[in-house]
Symmetry: C2
Subunit: 205 residues, 2 copies
DNA sequence: TGACTGACAGATATTGAAATCTGTCAGTCA
DNA sequence: TGACTGACAGATTTCAATATCTGTCAGTCA
Protein backbone atom coordinates (compact mmCIF):
# COMPACT_ATOMS: atom_id res chain seq x y z
CA UNK A 1 0.00 0.00 0.00
CA UNK A 2 2.89 2.34 0.66
CA UNK A 3 4.32 2.57 -2.88
CA UNK A 4 6.09 5.68 -4.06
CA UNK A 5 4.98 9.12 -2.94
CA UNK A 6 1.59 10.22 -1.76
CA UNK A 7 -0.31 11.96 -4.56
CA UNK A 8 -3.85 13.29 -4.82
CA UNK A 9 -4.52 10.53 -7.34
CA UNK A 10 -3.53 7.76 -4.95
CA UNK A 11 -5.60 9.34 -2.20
CA UNK A 12 -8.59 9.61 -4.52
CA UNK A 13 -8.32 5.97 -5.51
CA UNK A 14 -8.12 4.89 -1.89
CA UNK A 15 -11.01 7.13 -0.92
CA UNK A 16 -13.14 5.67 -3.66
CA UNK A 17 -12.32 2.22 -2.45
CA UNK A 18 -13.11 3.03 1.15
CA UNK A 19 -16.40 4.65 0.13
CA UNK A 20 -17.37 1.58 -1.84
CA UNK A 21 -16.57 -0.75 1.00
CA UNK A 22 -17.78 1.17 4.05
CA UNK A 23 -20.47 3.36 2.51
CA UNK A 24 -20.80 7.13 2.83
CA UNK A 25 -21.82 6.99 6.47
CA UNK A 26 -18.85 5.01 7.77
CA UNK A 27 -16.01 6.02 5.50
CA UNK A 28 -13.62 8.23 7.47
CA UNK A 29 -10.46 10.10 6.63
CA UNK A 30 -8.65 7.83 9.05
CA UNK A 31 -9.80 4.81 7.02
CA UNK A 32 -8.45 6.35 3.84
CA UNK A 33 -5.11 7.13 5.45
CA UNK A 34 -4.93 3.62 6.87
CA UNK A 35 -5.56 2.10 3.45
CA UNK A 36 -2.60 4.11 2.19
CA UNK A 37 -0.40 3.32 5.17
CA UNK A 38 -0.04 6.96 6.20
CA UNK A 39 -1.33 9.09 9.02
CA UNK A 40 -4.56 10.95 8.43
CA UNK A 41 -2.71 14.23 8.81
CA UNK A 42 -0.98 13.52 5.52
CA UNK A 43 -4.26 13.39 3.67
CA UNK A 44 -4.88 16.98 4.71
CA UNK A 45 -1.75 18.10 2.87
CA UNK A 46 -3.53 17.27 -0.38
CA UNK A 47 -7.18 17.91 0.39
CA UNK A 48 -8.38 20.81 2.46
CA UNK A 49 -11.15 18.86 4.15
CA UNK A 50 -13.06 15.64 4.18
CA UNK A 51 -15.78 17.40 2.17
CA UNK A 52 -13.25 18.42 -0.50
CA UNK A 53 -12.00 14.85 -0.78
CA UNK A 54 -15.52 13.49 -1.15
CA UNK A 55 -16.36 16.10 -3.72
CA UNK A 56 -13.29 15.16 -5.73
CA UNK A 57 -14.38 11.52 -5.72
CA UNK A 58 -17.83 12.60 -6.85
CA UNK A 59 -16.42 14.69 -9.69
CA UNK A 60 -14.46 11.71 -10.92
CA UNK A 61 -17.55 9.55 -10.94
CA UNK A 62 -19.58 12.18 -12.73
CA UNK A 63 -16.93 12.73 -15.36
CA UNK A 64 -16.76 9.01 -16.10
CA UNK A 65 -20.52 8.70 -16.33
CA UNK A 66 -20.67 11.60 -18.80
CA UNK A 67 -18.36 10.04 -21.36
CA UNK A 68 -20.86 7.85 -23.25
CA UNK A 69 -23.35 10.70 -23.37
CA UNK A 70 -20.77 13.07 -24.75
CA UNK A 71 -20.00 10.55 -27.46
CA UNK A 72 -23.65 10.41 -28.46
CA UNK A 73 -23.97 14.19 -28.44
CA UNK A 74 -20.99 14.40 -30.78
CA UNK A 75 -22.21 11.68 -33.15
CA UNK A 76 -23.68 12.28 -36.58
CA UNK A 77 -26.92 10.45 -36.03
CA UNK A 78 -29.83 12.60 -37.26
CA UNK A 79 -30.71 14.97 -34.43
CA UNK A 80 -34.15 13.53 -33.53
CA UNK A 81 -32.79 9.99 -33.24
CA UNK A 82 -29.70 11.35 -31.52
CA UNK A 83 -31.82 13.08 -28.92
CA UNK A 84 -33.80 9.92 -28.31
CA UNK A 85 -30.63 7.93 -28.00
CA UNK A 86 -29.10 10.45 -25.62
CA UNK A 87 -32.05 10.40 -23.23
CA UNK A 88 -32.49 6.65 -23.46
CA UNK A 89 -28.85 6.16 -22.63
CA UNK A 90 -29.05 8.57 -19.72
CA UNK A 91 -32.04 6.77 -18.33
CA UNK A 92 -30.61 3.32 -18.88
CA UNK A 93 -27.33 4.22 -17.23
CA UNK A 94 -29.13 5.45 -14.13
CA UNK A 95 -31.37 2.41 -14.07
CA UNK A 96 -28.45 0.03 -14.40
CA UNK A 97 -26.77 1.74 -11.51
CA UNK A 98 -29.75 1.74 -9.23
CA UNK A 99 -30.90 -1.78 -10.01
CA UNK A 100 -27.45 -3.25 -10.42
CA UNK A 101 -25.69 -1.93 -7.34
CA UNK A 102 -28.10 -0.05 -5.08
CA UNK A 103 -25.56 0.45 -2.33
CA UNK A 104 -23.07 2.10 -4.60
CA UNK A 105 -25.85 4.19 -6.03
CA UNK A 106 -26.86 5.28 -2.54
CA UNK A 107 -23.25 6.27 -1.95
CA UNK A 108 -23.25 8.39 -5.11
CA UNK A 109 -26.48 10.01 -4.06
CA UNK A 110 -25.21 10.81 -0.59
CA UNK A 111 -22.11 12.49 -2.01
CA UNK A 112 -24.24 14.35 -4.54
CA UNK A 113 -26.50 15.68 -1.81
CA UNK A 114 -23.45 17.21 -0.08
CA UNK A 115 -21.93 18.82 -3.16
CA UNK A 116 -24.44 21.23 -4.64
CA UNK A 117 -21.80 23.08 -6.61
CA UNK A 118 -20.45 20.03 -8.41
CA UNK A 119 -23.95 18.83 -9.21
CA UNK A 120 -25.01 22.19 -10.61
CA UNK A 121 -21.99 22.15 -12.93
CA UNK A 122 -22.73 18.60 -13.96
CA UNK A 123 -26.32 19.48 -14.80
CA UNK A 124 -25.14 22.47 -16.78
CA UNK A 125 -22.81 20.26 -18.83
CA UNK A 126 -25.59 17.79 -19.51
CA UNK A 127 -27.84 20.57 -20.71
CA UNK A 128 -25.08 21.87 -22.94
CA UNK A 129 -24.94 18.49 -24.61
CA UNK A 130 -28.68 18.53 -25.19
CA UNK A 131 -28.46 22.07 -26.51
CA UNK A 132 -25.80 21.05 -29.00
CA UNK A 133 -28.06 18.32 -30.36
CA UNK A 134 -30.92 20.78 -30.59
CA UNK A 135 -28.77 23.33 -32.39
CA UNK A 136 -27.79 20.68 -34.93
CA UNK A 137 -31.43 19.81 -35.42
CA UNK A 138 -32.47 23.41 -35.93
CA UNK A 139 -29.70 23.82 -38.47
CA UNK A 140 -30.76 20.69 -40.34
CA UNK A 141 -34.44 21.60 -40.27
CA UNK A 142 -35.37 18.59 -38.16
CA UNK A 143 -36.44 20.84 -35.32
CA UNK A 144 -38.36 24.07 -35.43
CA UNK A 145 -36.63 27.34 -34.66
CA UNK A 146 -36.06 27.39 -30.90
CA UNK A 147 -33.61 28.62 -28.33
CA UNK A 148 -31.35 25.61 -27.76
CA UNK A 149 -30.33 26.35 -24.15
CA UNK A 150 -33.88 27.12 -23.03
CA UNK A 151 -35.35 24.12 -24.82
CA UNK A 152 -32.54 21.94 -23.45
CA UNK A 153 -33.52 22.92 -19.95
CA UNK A 154 -37.16 22.19 -20.69
CA UNK A 155 -36.27 18.73 -21.99
CA UNK A 156 -34.03 18.01 -19.04
CA UNK A 157 -36.76 19.10 -16.64
CA UNK A 158 -39.41 17.15 -18.51
CA UNK A 159 -37.47 13.92 -18.18
CA UNK A 160 -36.44 14.44 -14.55
CA UNK A 161 -39.01 11.86 -13.52
CA UNK A 162 -36.86 9.27 -15.30
CA UNK A 163 -33.37 10.32 -14.38
CA UNK A 164 -33.42 12.22 -11.11
CA UNK A 165 -32.03 9.81 -8.51
CA UNK A 166 -34.44 11.01 -5.84
CA UNK A 167 -37.25 9.50 -7.91
CA UNK A 168 -35.56 6.16 -8.43
CA UNK A 169 -38.19 4.44 -6.32
CA UNK A 170 -40.56 4.93 -9.26
CA UNK A 171 -38.31 3.26 -11.79
CA UNK A 172 -39.58 -0.23 -11.11
CA UNK A 173 -43.25 0.48 -11.53
CA UNK A 174 -45.16 -1.36 -14.23
CA UNK A 175 -45.48 0.46 -17.53
CA UNK A 176 -42.34 2.44 -16.87
CA UNK A 177 -40.78 1.78 -20.27
CA UNK A 178 -43.99 2.64 -22.09
CA UNK A 179 -44.38 5.85 -20.10
CA UNK A 180 -40.86 6.92 -20.99
CA UNK A 181 -41.38 6.17 -24.69
CA UNK A 182 -44.67 8.06 -24.57
CA UNK A 183 -42.98 11.09 -23.03
CA UNK A 184 -40.17 11.11 -25.60
CA UNK A 185 -42.76 10.95 -28.38
CA UNK A 186 -44.62 13.88 -26.94
CA UNK A 187 -41.47 15.94 -26.51
CA UNK A 188 -40.19 15.20 -30.00
CA UNK A 189 -43.58 16.13 -31.41
CA UNK A 190 -43.21 19.45 -29.60
CA UNK A 191 -39.81 20.00 -31.21
CA UNK A 192 -40.93 19.17 -34.73
CA UNK A 193 -40.75 21.88 -37.41
CA UNK A 194 -43.51 24.47 -37.56
CA UNK A 195 -46.78 22.74 -38.45
CA UNK A 196 -49.45 24.04 -40.77
CA UNK A 197 -50.60 27.46 -39.53
CA UNK A 198 -51.78 26.76 -36.00
CA UNK A 199 -55.51 26.81 -35.60
CA UNK A 200 -56.38 28.42 -32.33
CA UNK A 201 -59.62 29.64 -30.86
CA UNK A 202 -57.80 32.38 -29.05
CA UNK A 203 -54.18 33.38 -29.48
CA UNK A 204 -52.73 31.41 -26.54
CA UNK A 205 -51.96 34.46 -24.39
CA UNK B 1 -62.44 18.90 24.96
CA UNK B 2 -64.76 16.16 26.13
CA UNK B 3 -67.94 17.21 24.27
CA UNK B 4 -70.50 14.67 23.14
CA UNK B 5 -69.50 11.22 21.92
CA UNK B 6 -66.25 10.14 20.39
CA UNK B 7 -66.53 9.93 16.60
CA UNK B 8 -64.01 9.25 13.85
CA UNK B 9 -64.49 12.86 12.76
CA UNK B 10 -63.56 14.29 16.15
CA UNK B 11 -60.54 11.99 16.32
CA UNK B 12 -59.46 13.05 12.85
CA UNK B 13 -59.73 16.72 13.72
CA UNK B 14 -57.71 16.20 16.89
CA UNK B 15 -55.12 14.12 15.05
CA UNK B 16 -54.72 16.82 12.43
CA UNK B 17 -54.22 19.38 15.16
CA UNK B 18 -51.67 17.27 16.99
CA UNK B 19 -49.79 16.61 13.74
CA UNK B 20 -49.68 20.31 13.00
CA UNK B 21 -48.39 21.18 16.44
CA UNK B 22 -45.97 18.35 17.18
CA UNK B 23 -44.96 17.33 13.68
CA UNK B 24 -45.05 13.83 12.22
CA UNK B 25 -42.16 12.59 14.31
CA UNK B 26 -43.55 13.48 17.72
CA UNK B 27 -47.28 13.15 17.29
CA UNK B 28 -48.44 10.05 19.17
CA UNK B 29 -51.76 8.32 19.61
CA UNK B 30 -51.54 9.17 23.28
CA UNK B 31 -51.30 12.87 22.36
CA UNK B 32 -54.42 12.61 20.24
CA UNK B 33 -56.34 10.83 22.99
CA UNK B 34 -55.17 13.42 25.52
CA UNK B 35 -56.37 16.25 23.29
CA UNK B 36 -59.77 14.60 23.27
CA UNK B 37 -59.76 13.83 26.98
CA UNK B 38 -60.01 10.08 26.51
CA UNK B 39 -57.67 7.15 26.94
CA UNK B 40 -55.65 6.10 23.92
CA UNK B 41 -57.41 2.73 23.95
CA UNK B 42 -60.59 4.51 22.84
CA UNK B 43 -58.93 5.78 19.72
CA UNK B 44 -58.34 2.19 18.66
CA UNK B 45 -62.10 1.52 18.68
CA UNK B 46 -62.36 3.83 15.66
CA UNK B 47 -59.05 3.38 13.87
CA UNK B 48 -57.32 0.06 13.50
CA UNK B 49 -53.84 1.46 13.93
CA UNK B 50 -51.80 4.61 14.14
CA UNK B 51 -50.96 4.16 10.46
CA UNK B 52 -54.66 4.01 9.57
CA UNK B 53 -55.33 7.21 11.50
CA UNK B 54 -52.48 9.03 9.78
CA UNK B 55 -53.59 7.80 6.41
CA UNK B 56 -57.11 9.08 7.07
CA UNK B 57 -55.69 12.52 7.90
CA UNK B 58 -53.67 12.42 4.71
CA UNK B 59 -56.69 11.48 2.62
CA UNK B 60 -58.58 14.44 4.02
CA UNK B 61 -55.74 16.79 3.13
CA UNK B 62 -55.46 15.37 -0.36
CA UNK B 63 -59.20 15.59 -1.00
CA UNK B 64 -59.23 19.24 0.04
CA UNK B 65 -56.24 20.07 -2.14
CA UNK B 66 -57.90 18.44 -5.16
CA UNK B 67 -61.02 20.59 -5.12
CA UNK B 68 -59.73 23.64 -7.04
CA UNK B 69 -58.14 21.41 -9.66
CA UNK B 70 -61.34 19.48 -10.16
CA UNK B 71 -63.13 22.77 -10.70
CA UNK B 72 -60.71 23.74 -13.43
CA UNK B 73 -60.91 20.34 -15.09
CA UNK B 74 -64.69 20.70 -15.22
CA UNK B 75 -64.65 24.25 -16.55
CA UNK B 76 -65.45 25.27 -20.13
CA UNK B 77 -62.25 27.10 -20.80
CA UNK B 78 -60.82 26.00 -24.19
CA UNK B 79 -58.83 22.82 -23.54
CA UNK B 80 -55.32 24.20 -24.21
CA UNK B 81 -55.82 27.14 -21.86
CA UNK B 82 -57.57 24.83 -19.41
CA UNK B 83 -54.61 22.50 -19.38
CA UNK B 84 -52.23 25.38 -18.80
CA UNK B 85 -54.40 26.67 -16.00
CA UNK B 86 -54.66 23.24 -14.42
CA UNK B 87 -50.90 22.71 -14.30
CA UNK B 88 -50.17 26.26 -13.25
CA UNK B 89 -52.63 25.92 -10.40
CA UNK B 90 -51.17 22.60 -9.33
CA UNK B 91 -47.70 24.06 -9.30
CA UNK B 92 -48.73 27.23 -7.53
CA UNK B 93 -50.61 25.33 -4.84
CA UNK B 94 -47.58 23.23 -4.08
CA UNK B 95 -45.31 26.23 -4.09
CA UNK B 96 -47.55 28.16 -1.76
CA UNK B 97 -47.54 25.25 0.63
CA UNK B 98 -43.83 24.72 0.60
CA UNK B 99 -42.86 28.36 0.80
CA UNK B 100 -45.71 29.44 3.04
CA UNK B 101 -45.57 26.76 5.72
CA UNK B 102 -42.59 24.47 5.24
CA UNK B 103 -43.17 22.58 8.47
CA UNK B 104 -46.71 21.67 7.57
CA UNK B 105 -45.53 20.71 4.12
CA UNK B 106 -42.90 18.45 5.65
CA UNK B 107 -45.63 16.84 7.72
CA UNK B 108 -47.69 16.20 4.59
CA UNK B 109 -44.70 14.71 2.89
CA UNK B 110 -43.89 12.42 5.78
CA UNK B 111 -47.44 11.09 5.84
CA UNK B 112 -47.38 10.70 2.08
CA UNK B 113 -44.19 8.67 2.25
CA UNK B 114 -45.91 6.22 4.60
CA UNK B 115 -49.11 5.80 2.59
CA UNK B 116 -48.20 4.52 -0.84
CA UNK B 117 -51.71 3.29 -1.51
CA UNK B 118 -53.40 6.62 -0.85
CA UNK B 119 -50.84 8.47 -2.91
CA UNK B 120 -51.19 6.12 -5.85
CA UNK B 121 -54.95 6.68 -5.84
CA UNK B 122 -54.45 10.41 -5.59
CA UNK B 123 -52.09 10.41 -8.55
CA UNK B 124 -54.56 8.32 -10.52
CA UNK B 125 -57.31 10.86 -9.84
CA UNK B 126 -55.08 13.73 -10.91
CA UNK B 127 -54.28 11.95 -14.15
CA UNK B 128 -57.96 11.31 -14.73
CA UNK B 129 -58.57 15.03 -14.53
CA UNK B 130 -55.81 15.68 -17.06
CA UNK B 131 -57.19 12.96 -19.31
CA UNK B 132 -60.63 14.55 -19.24
CA UNK B 133 -59.17 17.86 -20.41
CA UNK B 134 -57.28 16.04 -23.16
CA UNK B 135 -60.37 14.18 -24.27
CA UNK B 136 -62.25 17.47 -24.52
CA UNK B 137 -59.40 18.91 -26.59
CA UNK B 138 -59.31 15.97 -28.95
CA UNK B 139 -63.05 16.26 -29.44
CA UNK B 140 -62.83 19.98 -30.16
CA UNK B 141 -59.88 19.57 -32.51
CA UNK B 142 -57.57 21.60 -30.31
CA UNK B 143 -55.38 18.55 -29.73
CA UNK B 144 -54.28 15.90 -32.15
CA UNK B 145 -55.69 12.41 -31.91
CA UNK B 146 -54.09 10.81 -28.85
CA UNK B 147 -54.82 8.36 -26.11
CA UNK B 148 -55.97 10.58 -23.22
CA UNK B 149 -54.89 8.35 -20.32
CA UNK B 150 -51.46 7.67 -21.80
CA UNK B 151 -50.88 11.30 -22.72
CA UNK B 152 -52.13 12.37 -19.30
CA UNK B 153 -49.51 10.21 -17.69
CA UNK B 154 -46.84 11.63 -19.97
CA UNK B 155 -47.85 15.18 -19.05
CA UNK B 156 -47.94 14.38 -15.37
CA UNK B 157 -44.50 12.79 -15.58
CA UNK B 158 -43.12 15.64 -17.64
CA UNK B 159 -44.12 18.19 -15.03
CA UNK B 160 -43.00 16.15 -12.03
CA UNK B 161 -39.99 18.40 -11.71
CA UNK B 162 -42.40 21.20 -10.76
CA UNK B 163 -44.89 19.43 -8.56
CA UNK B 164 -43.27 16.39 -6.97
CA UNK B 165 -42.63 17.37 -3.35
CA UNK B 166 -39.33 15.54 -3.21
CA UNK B 167 -38.00 18.08 -5.70
CA UNK B 168 -39.24 21.11 -3.82
CA UNK B 169 -35.69 22.15 -3.05
CA UNK B 170 -35.44 23.22 -6.70
CA UNK B 171 -38.50 25.45 -6.62
CA UNK B 172 -36.62 28.51 -5.46
CA UNK B 173 -33.93 28.50 -8.09
CA UNK B 174 -33.65 31.49 -10.40
CA UNK B 175 -35.46 31.18 -13.72
CA UNK B 176 -37.92 28.72 -12.27
CA UNK B 177 -41.01 30.48 -13.60
CA UNK B 178 -39.51 30.83 -17.07
CA UNK B 179 -38.48 27.17 -17.11
CA UNK B 180 -41.99 26.11 -16.22
CA UNK B 181 -43.55 28.33 -18.89
CA UNK B 182 -41.04 26.97 -21.40
CA UNK B 183 -41.94 23.40 -20.53
CA UNK B 184 -45.67 24.04 -20.86
CA UNK B 185 -45.09 25.63 -24.26
CA UNK B 186 -43.13 22.61 -25.42
CA UNK B 187 -45.75 20.16 -24.16
CA UNK B 188 -48.64 22.06 -25.70
CA UNK B 189 -46.77 22.19 -28.99
CA UNK B 190 -46.49 18.42 -28.77
CA UNK B 191 -50.24 18.12 -28.28
CA UNK B 192 -51.18 20.42 -31.14
CA UNK B 193 -53.13 18.96 -34.07
CA UNK B 194 -51.23 17.00 -36.69
CA UNK B 195 -48.81 19.30 -38.53
CA UNK B 196 -47.96 19.21 -42.21
CA UNK B 197 -46.85 15.68 -43.18
CA UNK B 198 -43.85 15.04 -40.95
CA UNK B 199 -40.54 15.15 -42.78
CA UNK B 200 -38.27 12.47 -41.40
CA UNK B 201 -34.97 11.14 -42.57
CA UNK B 202 -35.78 7.77 -41.12
CA UNK B 203 -39.17 6.61 -39.87
CA UNK B 204 -38.59 7.27 -36.15
CA UNK B 205 -38.77 3.58 -35.19
C1' DT C 1 -74.81 -3.86 26.90
C1' DG C 2 -71.49 -1.50 24.85
C1' DA C 3 -68.46 2.56 25.09
C1' DC C 4 -64.57 3.30 27.61
C1' DT C 5 -60.45 2.51 30.80
C1' DG C 6 -55.93 1.28 32.22
C1' DA C 7 -52.38 -2.20 32.93
C1' DC C 8 -49.47 -4.87 30.17
C1' DA C 9 -45.90 -6.94 26.59
C1' DG C 10 -43.16 -6.01 23.02
C1' DA C 11 -41.46 -2.49 19.88
C1' DT C 12 -39.53 2.04 19.28
C1' DA C 13 -37.41 6.30 20.70
C1' DT C 14 -34.54 9.18 23.82
C1' DT C 15 -30.60 10.28 26.30
C1' DG C 16 -26.12 11.10 27.93
C1' DA C 17 -21.63 9.11 28.77
C1' DA C 18 -17.89 7.15 26.19
C1' DA C 19 -15.67 6.51 21.89
C1' DT C 20 -14.37 8.12 17.52
C1' DC C 21 -13.59 11.51 14.09
C1' DT C 22 -12.03 15.99 11.94
C1' DG C 23 -8.85 19.41 11.28
C1' DT C 24 -4.51 21.67 13.25
C1' DC C 25 0.18 22.21 14.16
C1' DA C 26 4.62 21.78 16.57
C1' DG C 27 7.91 18.53 16.06
C1' DT C 28 10.56 14.46 13.66
C1' DC C 29 13.32 12.45 10.27
C1' DA C 30 15.46 11.39 5.85
C1' DT D 1 13.93 21.51 3.81
C1' DG D 2 9.76 19.76 3.27
C1' DA D 3 6.94 15.49 3.47
C1' DC D 4 5.10 13.26 7.17
C1' DT D 5 3.70 12.12 12.11
C1' DG D 6 0.97 11.96 16.16
C1' DA D 7 -1.07 14.32 20.05
C1' DC D 8 -4.68 17.42 20.81
C1' DA D 9 -9.34 20.26 21.14
C1' DG D 10 -13.73 20.44 19.78
C1' DA D 11 -17.40 18.27 17.07
C1' DT D 12 -19.82 14.19 15.92
C1' DT D 13 -21.21 9.45 16.46
C1' DT D 14 -22.15 5.19 18.98
C1' DC D 15 -24.29 2.41 22.29
C1' DA D 16 -26.78 0.66 25.98
C1' DA D 17 -29.76 1.87 29.67
C1' DT D 18 -34.08 4.12 30.30
C1' DA D 19 -38.35 5.94 29.01
C1' DT D 20 -42.13 6.18 25.98
C1' DC D 21 -45.23 4.38 22.65
C1' DT D 22 -48.33 1.00 20.19
C1' DG D 23 -51.78 -2.22 20.20
C1' DT D 24 -54.52 -5.65 23.15
C1' DC D 25 -57.86 -7.08 26.24
C1' DA D 26 -60.05 -8.19 30.65
C1' DG D 27 -62.61 -5.47 33.47
C1' DT D 28 -65.51 -1.12 34.87
C1' DC D 29 -69.38 1.75 34.86
C1' DA D 30 -73.41 4.25 33.28
Amino acid sequence: MNDSVLTPERILAAAEDVLRRYGPGKATVVDVAQALGVSHGSVYRHFASKAALREAVLRGWLARSMAPLQAIANSRTPPPARLRQWFSTLRQAKRDNVLGDPELFATYSALAAEAGEAIAEHKARMQQQIASILAAGVASGDFRALDPPAAARALFDATARFHYPGLSHLWNQPGEDAAFAQLLDLLLAGLAPAPAPTRRRKPAR
